[in-house]
Amino acid sequence: MSATPPLLEIAGLTKSYPGVQALSDVSLTLARGEVLALLGENGAGKSTLIKTLGGVHQSDRGSFRVDGDRVTIANPRDARRLGISVIYQEFTLIPTLKVRENVFLGHDRQWLKPISQKTERRQAIALLNRIGSQLDPDRLCSELSVAEQQVVEIAKALALNTKIMVMDEPSAALSPREAEGLFGIVEELRSQGIGIIYITHRLNEVEQLADRIMILRDGEHITTQPAGDLSRDKIIENMVGRSLAEEFPPRCSVIGEPRLQVDGLTRGTAVENVSFAVHRGEVLGIAGLVGAGRTEVARMLFAADLPDQGTITLDGVVLNLKSPRQAIAAGICLLTEDRKSQGLILSQSTLHNFGLPNMADFSSKGMLVHRRERKGFQHYCETLNIRISDLQQRAETLSGGNQQKVVLAKWLQSTAEVIIFDEPTRGIDVGARYEIYQLLNELSEQGKAIIMISSDLPEVLAMSDRIVVMREGQVTGILDNKSSQQKVTPEDIMRYATSDQSLEEPLVTPKSFQ
């Protein structure tokens, strides 16, 4: 027993919702200057744990000690007072306020006491410097990139004299380079003696950052061990409750004639002169940093935005699409990056979400045939292994993996021929990811053309037949990933994604450009 008590000690935490045991008897300790990686599949109880710690939820049983003192956390204010800050995936910044105003927003200041702009600016710069950021405190938060917003969130936490910082998948929305910046900040916080609970799905981050690893499964504490003692395989095994020898299923592709051809696609400065082709049975990866214009290309292919210039050809026919409705009719579909705000109507049932683009299939003479719709959905529940308790279950109650499969089901029903996945596995746990990859393979084997936009480099490398790399709205390289003798490396992709050297020495052969 050391003389000083641990920074944070949680004992016997138990929490249940109607029908779900979210946490049962979970305990943990966190020392000063320690990074504790909290791992587990979606639904394992990580969110409940941090929401209890942050005061959003109250536990049924269990105790908290901060610096050895028994404390109660009844609301988010209590948590803040105790020096506990939680950085949620959904940021809490007010877009219309400046950086410095956001940083000091949560402060208990007297309502009518004048605020000195100068002092506030000075203090904000000091806080930002503490984590090595040069961000201008007078910029509006609405102008910031995701990574910059995250920096502001962290500064906001530090402004409250945070001792314990919980980060919920902080790297999920960041490009690899931005993620490196985040890791630097985490190191900095650690060296300042702040205890960090770090939640992630990315195992390489765990290896890079974590001092200890704690794994939850189905609300139960599985193990907590020093990071060096757990191999990657062991971590996965503990998370999913079985061993998963491979993260990715094997892929054997048979590639046919070109199906979707894109020529000179341009929209403002976001996308400039983008050309590529996707073939029958092919998975075409699109890699690049966040903001490189990948999502914008996808939206234009789906006619969610209209291009200023350029043509899109499907199976030799030039398409002139004006709306997503027409794109769907032509056989193109898009699984959006942001399922929650664009892919699904969260407040409505999974069944209705599934039926929405397929009304023609499920109605006759202008009236819905509910039975046909139900049968159609049940069919996909079985084939895609969608786990729901009830067809009327609201979409927001599903796990990320199941939500993604519901979106996929609605497009499969609409007989999509070109399927565009934008970040298909973001926020999806390891087990469900594997299923999504298998689906990708199956769909390509059926002769569909698949475009997969991803910021997850291992995923792009493992699943793509060819990889389009974009930077600042332009295609900087199209890399062949099929031939086994010269596999594309992450470094190759990063080179094209970050520098303009490729423009001088194009790696693209005319043949693969067609």
Partner: protein, 502 residues
């Protein structure tokens, strides 16, 4: 279309080359075939998902789903309990009953004088007694219909003429007249004369056919407008112009009849055409609202606020500044006055519109689209919903509903009143909200709106019966709307205890 995608299941493991190999290559253990469950190979696991969608009946869910209906019934019960009074029947049926009673009690051939007031209903009552008595062999010596004075006059005259009067048959009201009291009767006749009236009984005055029908009748215009408003609010919009549009429809109908369709000589066809023009104008204003909202991206609140004022002003201009545009065409009242089995046409119209709207919202793709647009407009667009067309249609429907209410108003008052429907928009919105439709959009039921409108109508009726003055009524009315919405919020917490909204 399904054939294409059915390929997923029909594919054999050998064809996909995937499921068959997966366990060996990925080291997946045999217990968890569901993880690879893409093919028909794993019926045992997929069987679970297939049987899961069976819904379980639960009391909690029933209360949550039908809470407002429960509130309506409780309200009716409470008001009924508070309004129990002595009911004195005065209808022809009671008259026949009374005649039978007289025949039973006072020999086979009683001499009966019938005393009633000089009103149409009373004459029908007297006629019923008369017919029934004569059919049963009784002798009606006279029918006195008029004031107490004329009643006593006729009684003395009859007696003076030598006729016998054994029984005076009347209703409760006249039986209380001083001239029919025992002492006055003794003055005019030596022989005893009985006064009989139909037996009274205790019953809630709220729960009478007339009162219930009048609640429906008074609230039908608001309920009809609330149909369109429900659609608009489900798309997360609002329409403040409905009250003004109601007046516009009435005034346009009146003006076009007066100035263009033959004035006093207009026939039924012209009247129908004028109604059509009135409603069409409302539909056009609705379309303008829809275009402002979709094409020019003006928030619905602002767009319809503007149109509300434009339409109200237009009403006064069309009316030439007058309070009412008189319509001297008899045919115009046909719409409002028509009835089936004592139920007025506007109630029937309201019921038909509610059923139609309910079917459209639950059984057609359009209904689905309306919910989808309100639930998440960008997800709806990316799912191929023609968002713009749906929104414009919804505002047109809302305008049309206001047009129907306006036409009914013109038919009712035989005038186009530029002041009609003032502040109705707020009552209409209240009915929709009390009916459980969320102002956030994406949720709500047409039949909920009907219940909401009825709840408000019943409350108003109850307060009137309790003699609460109109200022207090307003306070209570407003407070009850707030209670309804708070209850709705609490109910959401019951369904989704995990979702924290703070």
């Amino acid at each position: 279309m399904i054939d294409e995608t059915d390929g997923l299941t029909e594919k054999t493991p050998a064809e996909t080359g995937l499921t068959a190999e997966a366990p060996a290559e990925t080291g997946l253990t045999a217990e968890v075939p569901a993880e690879t469950g893409l093919t028909a190979e794993v019926p045992a696991e997929t069987g679970l998902t297939a049987e899961a969608p069976i819904k379980k009946w639960s009391l909690k869910k029933q209360i949550v789903d039908h809470g407002m209906l429960l509130v309506l019934l409780l309200l009716c019960a409470a008001i009924s309990a508070l309004t129990v009074t002595d009911i004195h029947p005065e209808d022809p049926a009671a008259g026949r009953q009374l005649a039978k009673l007289a025949l039973q009690e006072y020999g086979t051939q009683p001499n009966v004088l019938i005393v009633v007031r000089d009103t149409e209903a009373d004459r029908a009552f007297a006629q019923a007694i008369n017919d029934e008595l004569i059919a049963g062999g009784g002798n009606v010596v006279g029918i006195a219909s008029g004031t107490p004075r004329s009643a006593i006059l006729q009684l003395t005259q009859t007696l003076a003429a030598g006729e016998n009067v054994d029984v005076i048959a009347t209703h409760h009201f006249a039986s209380q007249w001083e001239v029919l009291s025992a002492s006055r009767r003794a003055q005019v006749s030596d022989k005893p004369i009985k006064v009989i009236s139909p037996p009274s009984y205790r019953w809630p005055s709220f729960l009478t056919k007339n009162n219930l029908l009048s609640i429906l009748n008074q609230n039908a215009p608001i309920a009809i407008m609330a149909i369109g408003m429900t659609l608009v609010i489900i798309t997360a919009g609002i329409d403040l112009s409905v009250g003004s549009l109601m007046a516009l429809a009435a005034v346009v109908t009146a003006v076009s009849l007066r100035d263009y369709l033959g004035g006093v000589d207009a026939n039924g066809g012209s009247v129908a055409l004028a109604f059509g023009i009135g409603m069409l104008v409302c539909a056009v204003v609705g379309a303008v609202a829809g275009l402002l909202i979709t094409v020019f991206k003006i928030p619905p609140f602002v767009a319809t606020l503007g149109l509300m004022m434009v339409a109200r002003g237009a009403c006064y201009i069309l009316a030439g500044g007058a309070d009412a545009v008189k319509i001297d065409v008899p045919a115009i009242s046909t719409l409002y006055d028509a009835s089936v089995l004592g139920v007025s046409s506007q109630i029937i119209l309201m019921v038909i519109l509610f059923i139609t709207a309910h079917v459209v919202m639950t059984h057609t793709p359009f209904g689905r689209y309306v919910y989808a647009v309100g639930g998440n407009v960008s997800a709806a667009r990316l799912s191929g919903v023609p968002v713009m067309a749906v929104l414009i249609t919804v505002y047109i429907v809302c305008g049309l509903c206001a047009g129907v209410a306006g036409v009914l108003d013109a038919s009712h008052f035989l005038t186009g009143r530029p002041k009609a429907g003032e502040f109705y928009e707020l009552q209409v919105i209240a009915a929709v909200v009390v009916g459980g439709t969320s102002l956030m959009g994406g949720e709500g039921k047409i039949l909920g709106t009907l219940i909401g409108a009825l709840i408000l109508g019943v409350i108003q009726n109850g307060l009137n019966m309790a003699g609460v003055d109109s200022y207090r009524q307003m306070v209570i009315y407003g407070a009850l709307i707030l209670v309804a919405v708070v209850v709705d919020q609490l109910k959401k917490k019951v369904i989704n205890p995990g979702v924290v909204s703070d």
